[in-house]
């Protein structure tokens, strides 16, 4: 099953309540995905430093911080439960290598200038509380509640998946050609951390974007190359996009007002949003890419 949610703010006055709006959406989708939850928040930070969202699992935070500073002298680290946000000016490839070579027990869940990702096993209610989602502000956010069907219930198996700078993907559905596609993408140098089908779709999108295709072109190609059932929400630094497969068995509903665009698997996830009863509410058509921002 799984539940997916997303909200893109048009009115900056709502930026401070982004976290609390998304939190309620995630909790309301707990009925569709009780075993794990996660979210990506874009907060439009203007700086040169890249931010890395890292799940340190059971590692001792102080030890991790100390060890990391041996490799990164400008490391600026902030803790949030079992995740840390690392900021550094070092090049992304170098940081990724350091994490891979020396911190094998951690998982990099995403990185970028704007994005922060938190995901963990547990009910959406627990996950939202654990990471204090209510306190976050930002411009747009995407979330997922998981009912695992094709790979294990682990942090690595939960969404959102991020395989490129400031990119992320959540997915309701299942892909049937992910093993084949994973092999092809691995040959092109894309790394995967799990056996999960959604991670392959995320890698596919990142590979396209890296080849100078825009998000709309990428998703239109995805209609041809990704086989299976899906409703996707994919986030980029400045916006997000929604795509449903052409059979459209997986639900989605969009509510748009002058202040925001929200998308969720079911309307009940959005019932609390301000002014939603007067919003333009519609179901995204199958095989059509919808995007906001850029």
């Amino acid at each position: 099953m799984c539940g997916i949610v997303g909200i893109y703010l048009k009115n900056k006055k709502l930026n401070n309540s982004l976290g609390s709006l998304l939190a309620e959406m995630l909790i309301n989708m707990g009925s569709r995905g009780p075993d794990s939850a996660g979210f990506a928040i874009y907060n439009d930070e203007k700086g040169e430093k890249l931010k890395y969202s890292i799940c340190i699992n059971n590692l001792d935070y102080e030890n991790f911080k100390k060890e990391l500073s041996e490799y990164l002298d400008d490391a600026d680290i902030r803790k949030n439960s079992d995740h840390v946000i690392l900021k550094t000016k070092k090049k992304a490839n170098d940081v990724l290598k350091i994490l891979k070579d020396h911190f094998k027990n951690t998982s990099l869940v995403g990185y970028g200038k704007s994005i922060e990702i938190f995901k963990q096993v547990g009910s959406p209610n627990e996950v939202v509380k654990k990471f204090n989602l209510n306190n976050y502000s930002g411009t747009h956010a995407i979330g997922h509640t998981r009912m695992a069907t094709e790979s294990a219930i682990t942090t690595d198996g939960s969404h959102p998946y991020s395989t490129g700078e400031d990119e992320c993907l959540v997915h309701n559905g299942s892909l049937s050609n992910h093993n084949n596609l994973r092999r092809k993408l691995k040959k092109k140098g894309i790394n995967f951390d799990s056996e999960n089908d959604t991670e392959v779709a995320a890698g596919y999108i990142s590979n396209h974007l890296a080849n100078k295709k825009n998000l709309k072109e990428t998703l239109n190609d995805g209609l041809r190359d990704l086989d299976g059932f899906y409703t996707f929400i994919t986030g980029t630094r400045n916006g997000f996009a929604v795509l449903r497969d052409e059979i459209a068995c997986k639900p989605a509903v969009i509510a748009e007002t002058n202040d925001y665009v929200a998308i969720a698997s079911e309307f009940q996830a959005m019932a609390h949003l301000p002014g939603v009863n007067n919003a333009k509410i519609f179901e995204p058509e199958p095989g059509v890419v919808y995007s906001w921002g850029s």
């Binding site: 459209a248 509903v253 079911e266 309307f267 009940q268 019932a271 509410i281």
Partner: protein
């Protein structure tokens, strides 16, 4: 009587409506704050009027018998699924599988209905004032599906004896679905549906009728789509 879903839980509200206190002569109900809940007004079996003020989730008014239910908002998947009789009126848009497997009654949708509207319908009459999505009328067996707007891909795929009337464009017809002649008796029937749904701006003559070519009734080795 007003029933507030913020104060009462869904099960209590449905229980009250499903088991009307016959000693009281109360037959008019308004449900407020539906907030996208699923299965609101499922399984009602008495004559009564219910107005739901707001958007609802899945399977609203499912299995309805005799009740007259109006939803002043959008509905999720499977509105009036397996309805037996009565009337369900959606003032907004409907998600997929509206009126699925319904045996009787009248379902009116003022907005659009998405994919698989009237899937496997078995005698219900469905009037959609907007358009319907792909595979509408899929394996539909009996009843009437009237669409004032357009129809998506594979309309009426593998249908049996449902009459489908479309005013706008049909993207494509499904297997064994063909356009049929509109006889006077069909026109008269259609006029009645348009009147029941209070549609005054479209004439019955502007619709086209679709139905089964009846070529899938018996197995033929070369049937393919």
């Amino acid at each position: 009587m007003e029933l507030d879903l913020k104060k009462l839980n869904l099960r209590n509200v449905n229980d009250k409506l499903q088991n009307l206190d016959r000693k009281k002569n109360e037959r008019d109900f308004t449900i407020i704050n539906p907030e996208g809940n699923h299965a609101i007004c499922a399984g009602l079996k008495n004559e009564m009027n219910v107005t739901i003020k707001g958007h609802v989730g899945y399977y609203c008014a499912g299995m309805n018998q005799k009740a007259n239910i109006t939803i002043e908002g959008n509905v999720g998947t499977g509105v009036a699924e397996n309805m037996m009789s009565g009337k369900v009126h959606v003032k907004g848009n409907a998600s997929q599988s509206a009126g699925a497997t319904a045996h009787g009654g009248l379902l009116i949708i003022d907005g659009d209905a998405s994919s698989r509207c009237g899937i496997s319908m078995k005698g219900v009459d469905i009037v959609v004032k907007g358009s319907v999505g792909h595979m509408s009328g899929f394996m539909s067996q009996s009843g009437n599906l009237i669409v004032c707007g357009d129809a998506g891909e594979a309309l009426g795929d593998s249908l049996y004896e449902t009459n489908i009337y479309i005013r706008g464009k049909v993207k494509s017809l499904g297997a064994d679905c063909i356009e049929k002649k509109m006889d006077k008796k069909h026109l008269n029937k259609l006029k009645k549906f348009l009147k029941d749904a209070e549609i005054k701006n479209f004439k019955a003559e502007s619709f086209k009728r679709y139905g089964s070519a009846r070529k899938l009734y018996n197995f033929k080795i070369d049937n393919s789509y």
